[in-house]
């Protein structure tokens, strides 16, 4: 597989300091038996939405190193609590893309920009937290 990003990624995305690194992370999913649909970035899922296209994080996937951060965010945001009830655990394998720590309020948020054609969900499995 070519390690290339989708053609519609702007030149400033991912940022220069993003790197390939295998990190154990958690991601919220909509279904317990999650699929590739749970691993598409916001910009890929909603190409018509212009409002967040200037945010490099919106081109990547949100994952957390610390599962407690997922719990905390679900408590705060009804959309996450109601629609992203399940959790998958896996690794940000270098073959799939590049990562960068992008915390909000000092949490463990990481943005993972996925290479074109990569299937990151294959490295994840459902967990209960």
């Amino acid at each position: 597989m070519n390690k290339r990003f989708p053609v519609f990624f702007p030149e400033w995305c991912p940022p220069n300091d993003a790197r390939e690194e295998a990190i154990d992370v958690f991601r919220m999913t909509k279904k317990n038996n999650f699929s590739s649909d749970d691993f598409y970035s916001h910009v890929i899922l909603f190409p018509d939405r212009e409002d967040f296209k200037k945010i490099d994080k919106a081109y990547g996937l949100s994952v957390y190193k610390d599962a407690n951060d997922l719990i905390k965010q679900r408590k705060r945001v009804p959309n996450l609590r109601n629609n992203w009830k399940f959790t998958a655990k896996g690794k940000t394998l270098p073959d799939c893309g590049v990562v960068k720590e992008t915390p909000t309020n000092k949490n463990s948020h990481i943005t993972w920009w996925i290479y074109d054609g990569a299937e990151p969900h294959n490295n994840f499995s459902s967990v209960d937290i």
Binding site: M28, E50, D51, R76, V77, P78, N79, L80, W84, T104
Partner: protein
């Protein structure tokens, strides 16, 4: 998350106008809990309720500065904020292929648990690396809104007291605006009265208060021109450059010497209002042109500046040349009366060097006079005195 990256983003909402995203508290694939600022300066806390292939829904909660401060300090939960709003609560529907979001009023009493955050969820606000970058933040706001932005953090008694008495705050705000006006008035009106144009061009609005000892946020009333300057930018920067000189006597006198005498007087009044209130302060200033000033002035600095301004009356003293009509001379009482070309009247005393001269009145002449401005420290009233130094025939 703050700064250029996020400041480029906004939501257009039919009932609320343009909402600029200023802070993101939860980012999960996209901002899901974030703060917006409307063009009128209202804070709106947005939380994502649902998202599907067609639209995204948010709950929008307008917040006063004090309520926002409570939220920042975890004194009120997100559940309480949304279930007991201070005013209206809005449900926002954003169709993904439509630019303007639809807003409808939501009755808080009809809210279901599904629409609310958990009861024990708080904003849990902590400054991270990006949030600490206040320079980027304020400069971006200024550039985005094309207005000068000033954040003045007043520190009563050099502590973190978050209250200030009405008269002190009123005094400070009035003298702050006066100081900017007077600096801007350079070379325009000779006498004390400011022109209406100067007042309008340099009008500064208080747009809110923020979390600081006592933080006041200002924005220029006018927006910038093509070159990124508002009509007030220059005077605002000059005022804060004066502050930045602290008690450097030589530089203060030099800088004030380049301004009208009014500027020195009004600056002293502003300093006096801070001195009387026993305040220290921190200030950040940004202009749409990306000028940025960040200063901290202690209570001690303020006293020293005030003493310098009071001791050196020569900064309120200048010689000016005028053209007009000499309309009266009283050699017995050493008095003169003069009308300049704009019709302003100047009366005062004759200098010793010319009191034995012969005068013809009325006559069109050029004169040189010394203008002295005195300020009563108790009442802050100004008194202008003029001394006629020289009279020459008009060419």
């Amino acid at each position: 998350m703050k700064g250029e990256e996020i400041m480029n983003n906004k939501l257009e909402i039919d009932m609320l106008g343009t909402c600029y995203i200023t802070e993101v508290f939860v980012f999960y694939d996209f901002p899901q809990l974030f703060l917006c600022n409307t063009e009128t300066g209202t804070n709106i806390l947005m939380v994502c309720l649902d998202m599907n292939s067609e639209y995204t829904e948010y709950m929008a909660l307008p917040l006063s500065e004090s309520k926002l401060l409570e939220a920042y300090r975890n004194r009120v939960s997100l559940y309480q904020l949304y279930s007991k709003p201070e005013g209206l609560l809005w449900r926002i529907k954003q169709y993904h292929n439509v630019e303007v979001c639809e807003a409808t009023i939501r009755n808080p009493e009809e809210l279901t648990e599904v629409e609310l955050p958990d009861e024990d969820a708080f904003l849990d606000y902590e400054f991270d690396g990006e949030l600490e970058n206040d320079e980027t933040y304020i400069v971006n706001i200024s550039e985005l809104e094309k207005r000068d932005v000033i954040k003045l953090s007043l520190e009563p008694k050099e502590s973190h007291v978050q209250e200030i008495d009405c008269s002190s705050l009123g005094d400070i705000l009035i003298h702050f605006q006066d100081a900017v006006n007077s600096i801007a008035d350079k070379g325009k009106s000779i006498k004390g009265k400011l022109s209406q144009d100067t007042k309008e061009e340099n009008l500064i609005n208080v747009v809110g208060f923020y979390a600081a000892s006592f933080g006041v946020k200002f924005k220029s009333n006018k927006i910038s021109d093509l070159f990124g300057e508002t009509t007030a930018s220059k005077a605002i920067l000059e005022l804060f450059e004066l502050f930045d000189l602290k008690d450097n006597k030589i530089e203060i006198i030099k800088k004030l010497g380049e301004m009208s005498p009014k500027a020195g007087i009004k600056y002293r009044k502003f300093i006096n209002s801070l001195r009387k209130a026993e305040l220290s302060f921190k200030a950040e200033v940004a202009t749409p042109k990306k000028d940025y000033i960040n200063i901290a002035i202690s209570k001690n600095d303020i006293t020293k500046i005030y003493n310098i301004l009071s001791e050196h009356s020569e900064i309120d003293d200048r010689t000016i040349s005028l053209k007009g009509k000499l309309v009266g001379i009283d050699v017995k009482q050493n008095k003169f009366s003069f009308l300049n070309e704009e019709g302003e009247s100047f009366t005062g005393k004759l200098d010793d060097s010319i009191c034995d001269s012969e005068f013809v009145v009325p006559k069109d002449v050029s004169i040189r006079i010394r203008e002295q401005v005195e300020v009563d420290d108790m009442t802050n009233c100004e008194r202008y005195k003029y001394i006629l130094l020289e009279v020459r025939e008009s060419k």
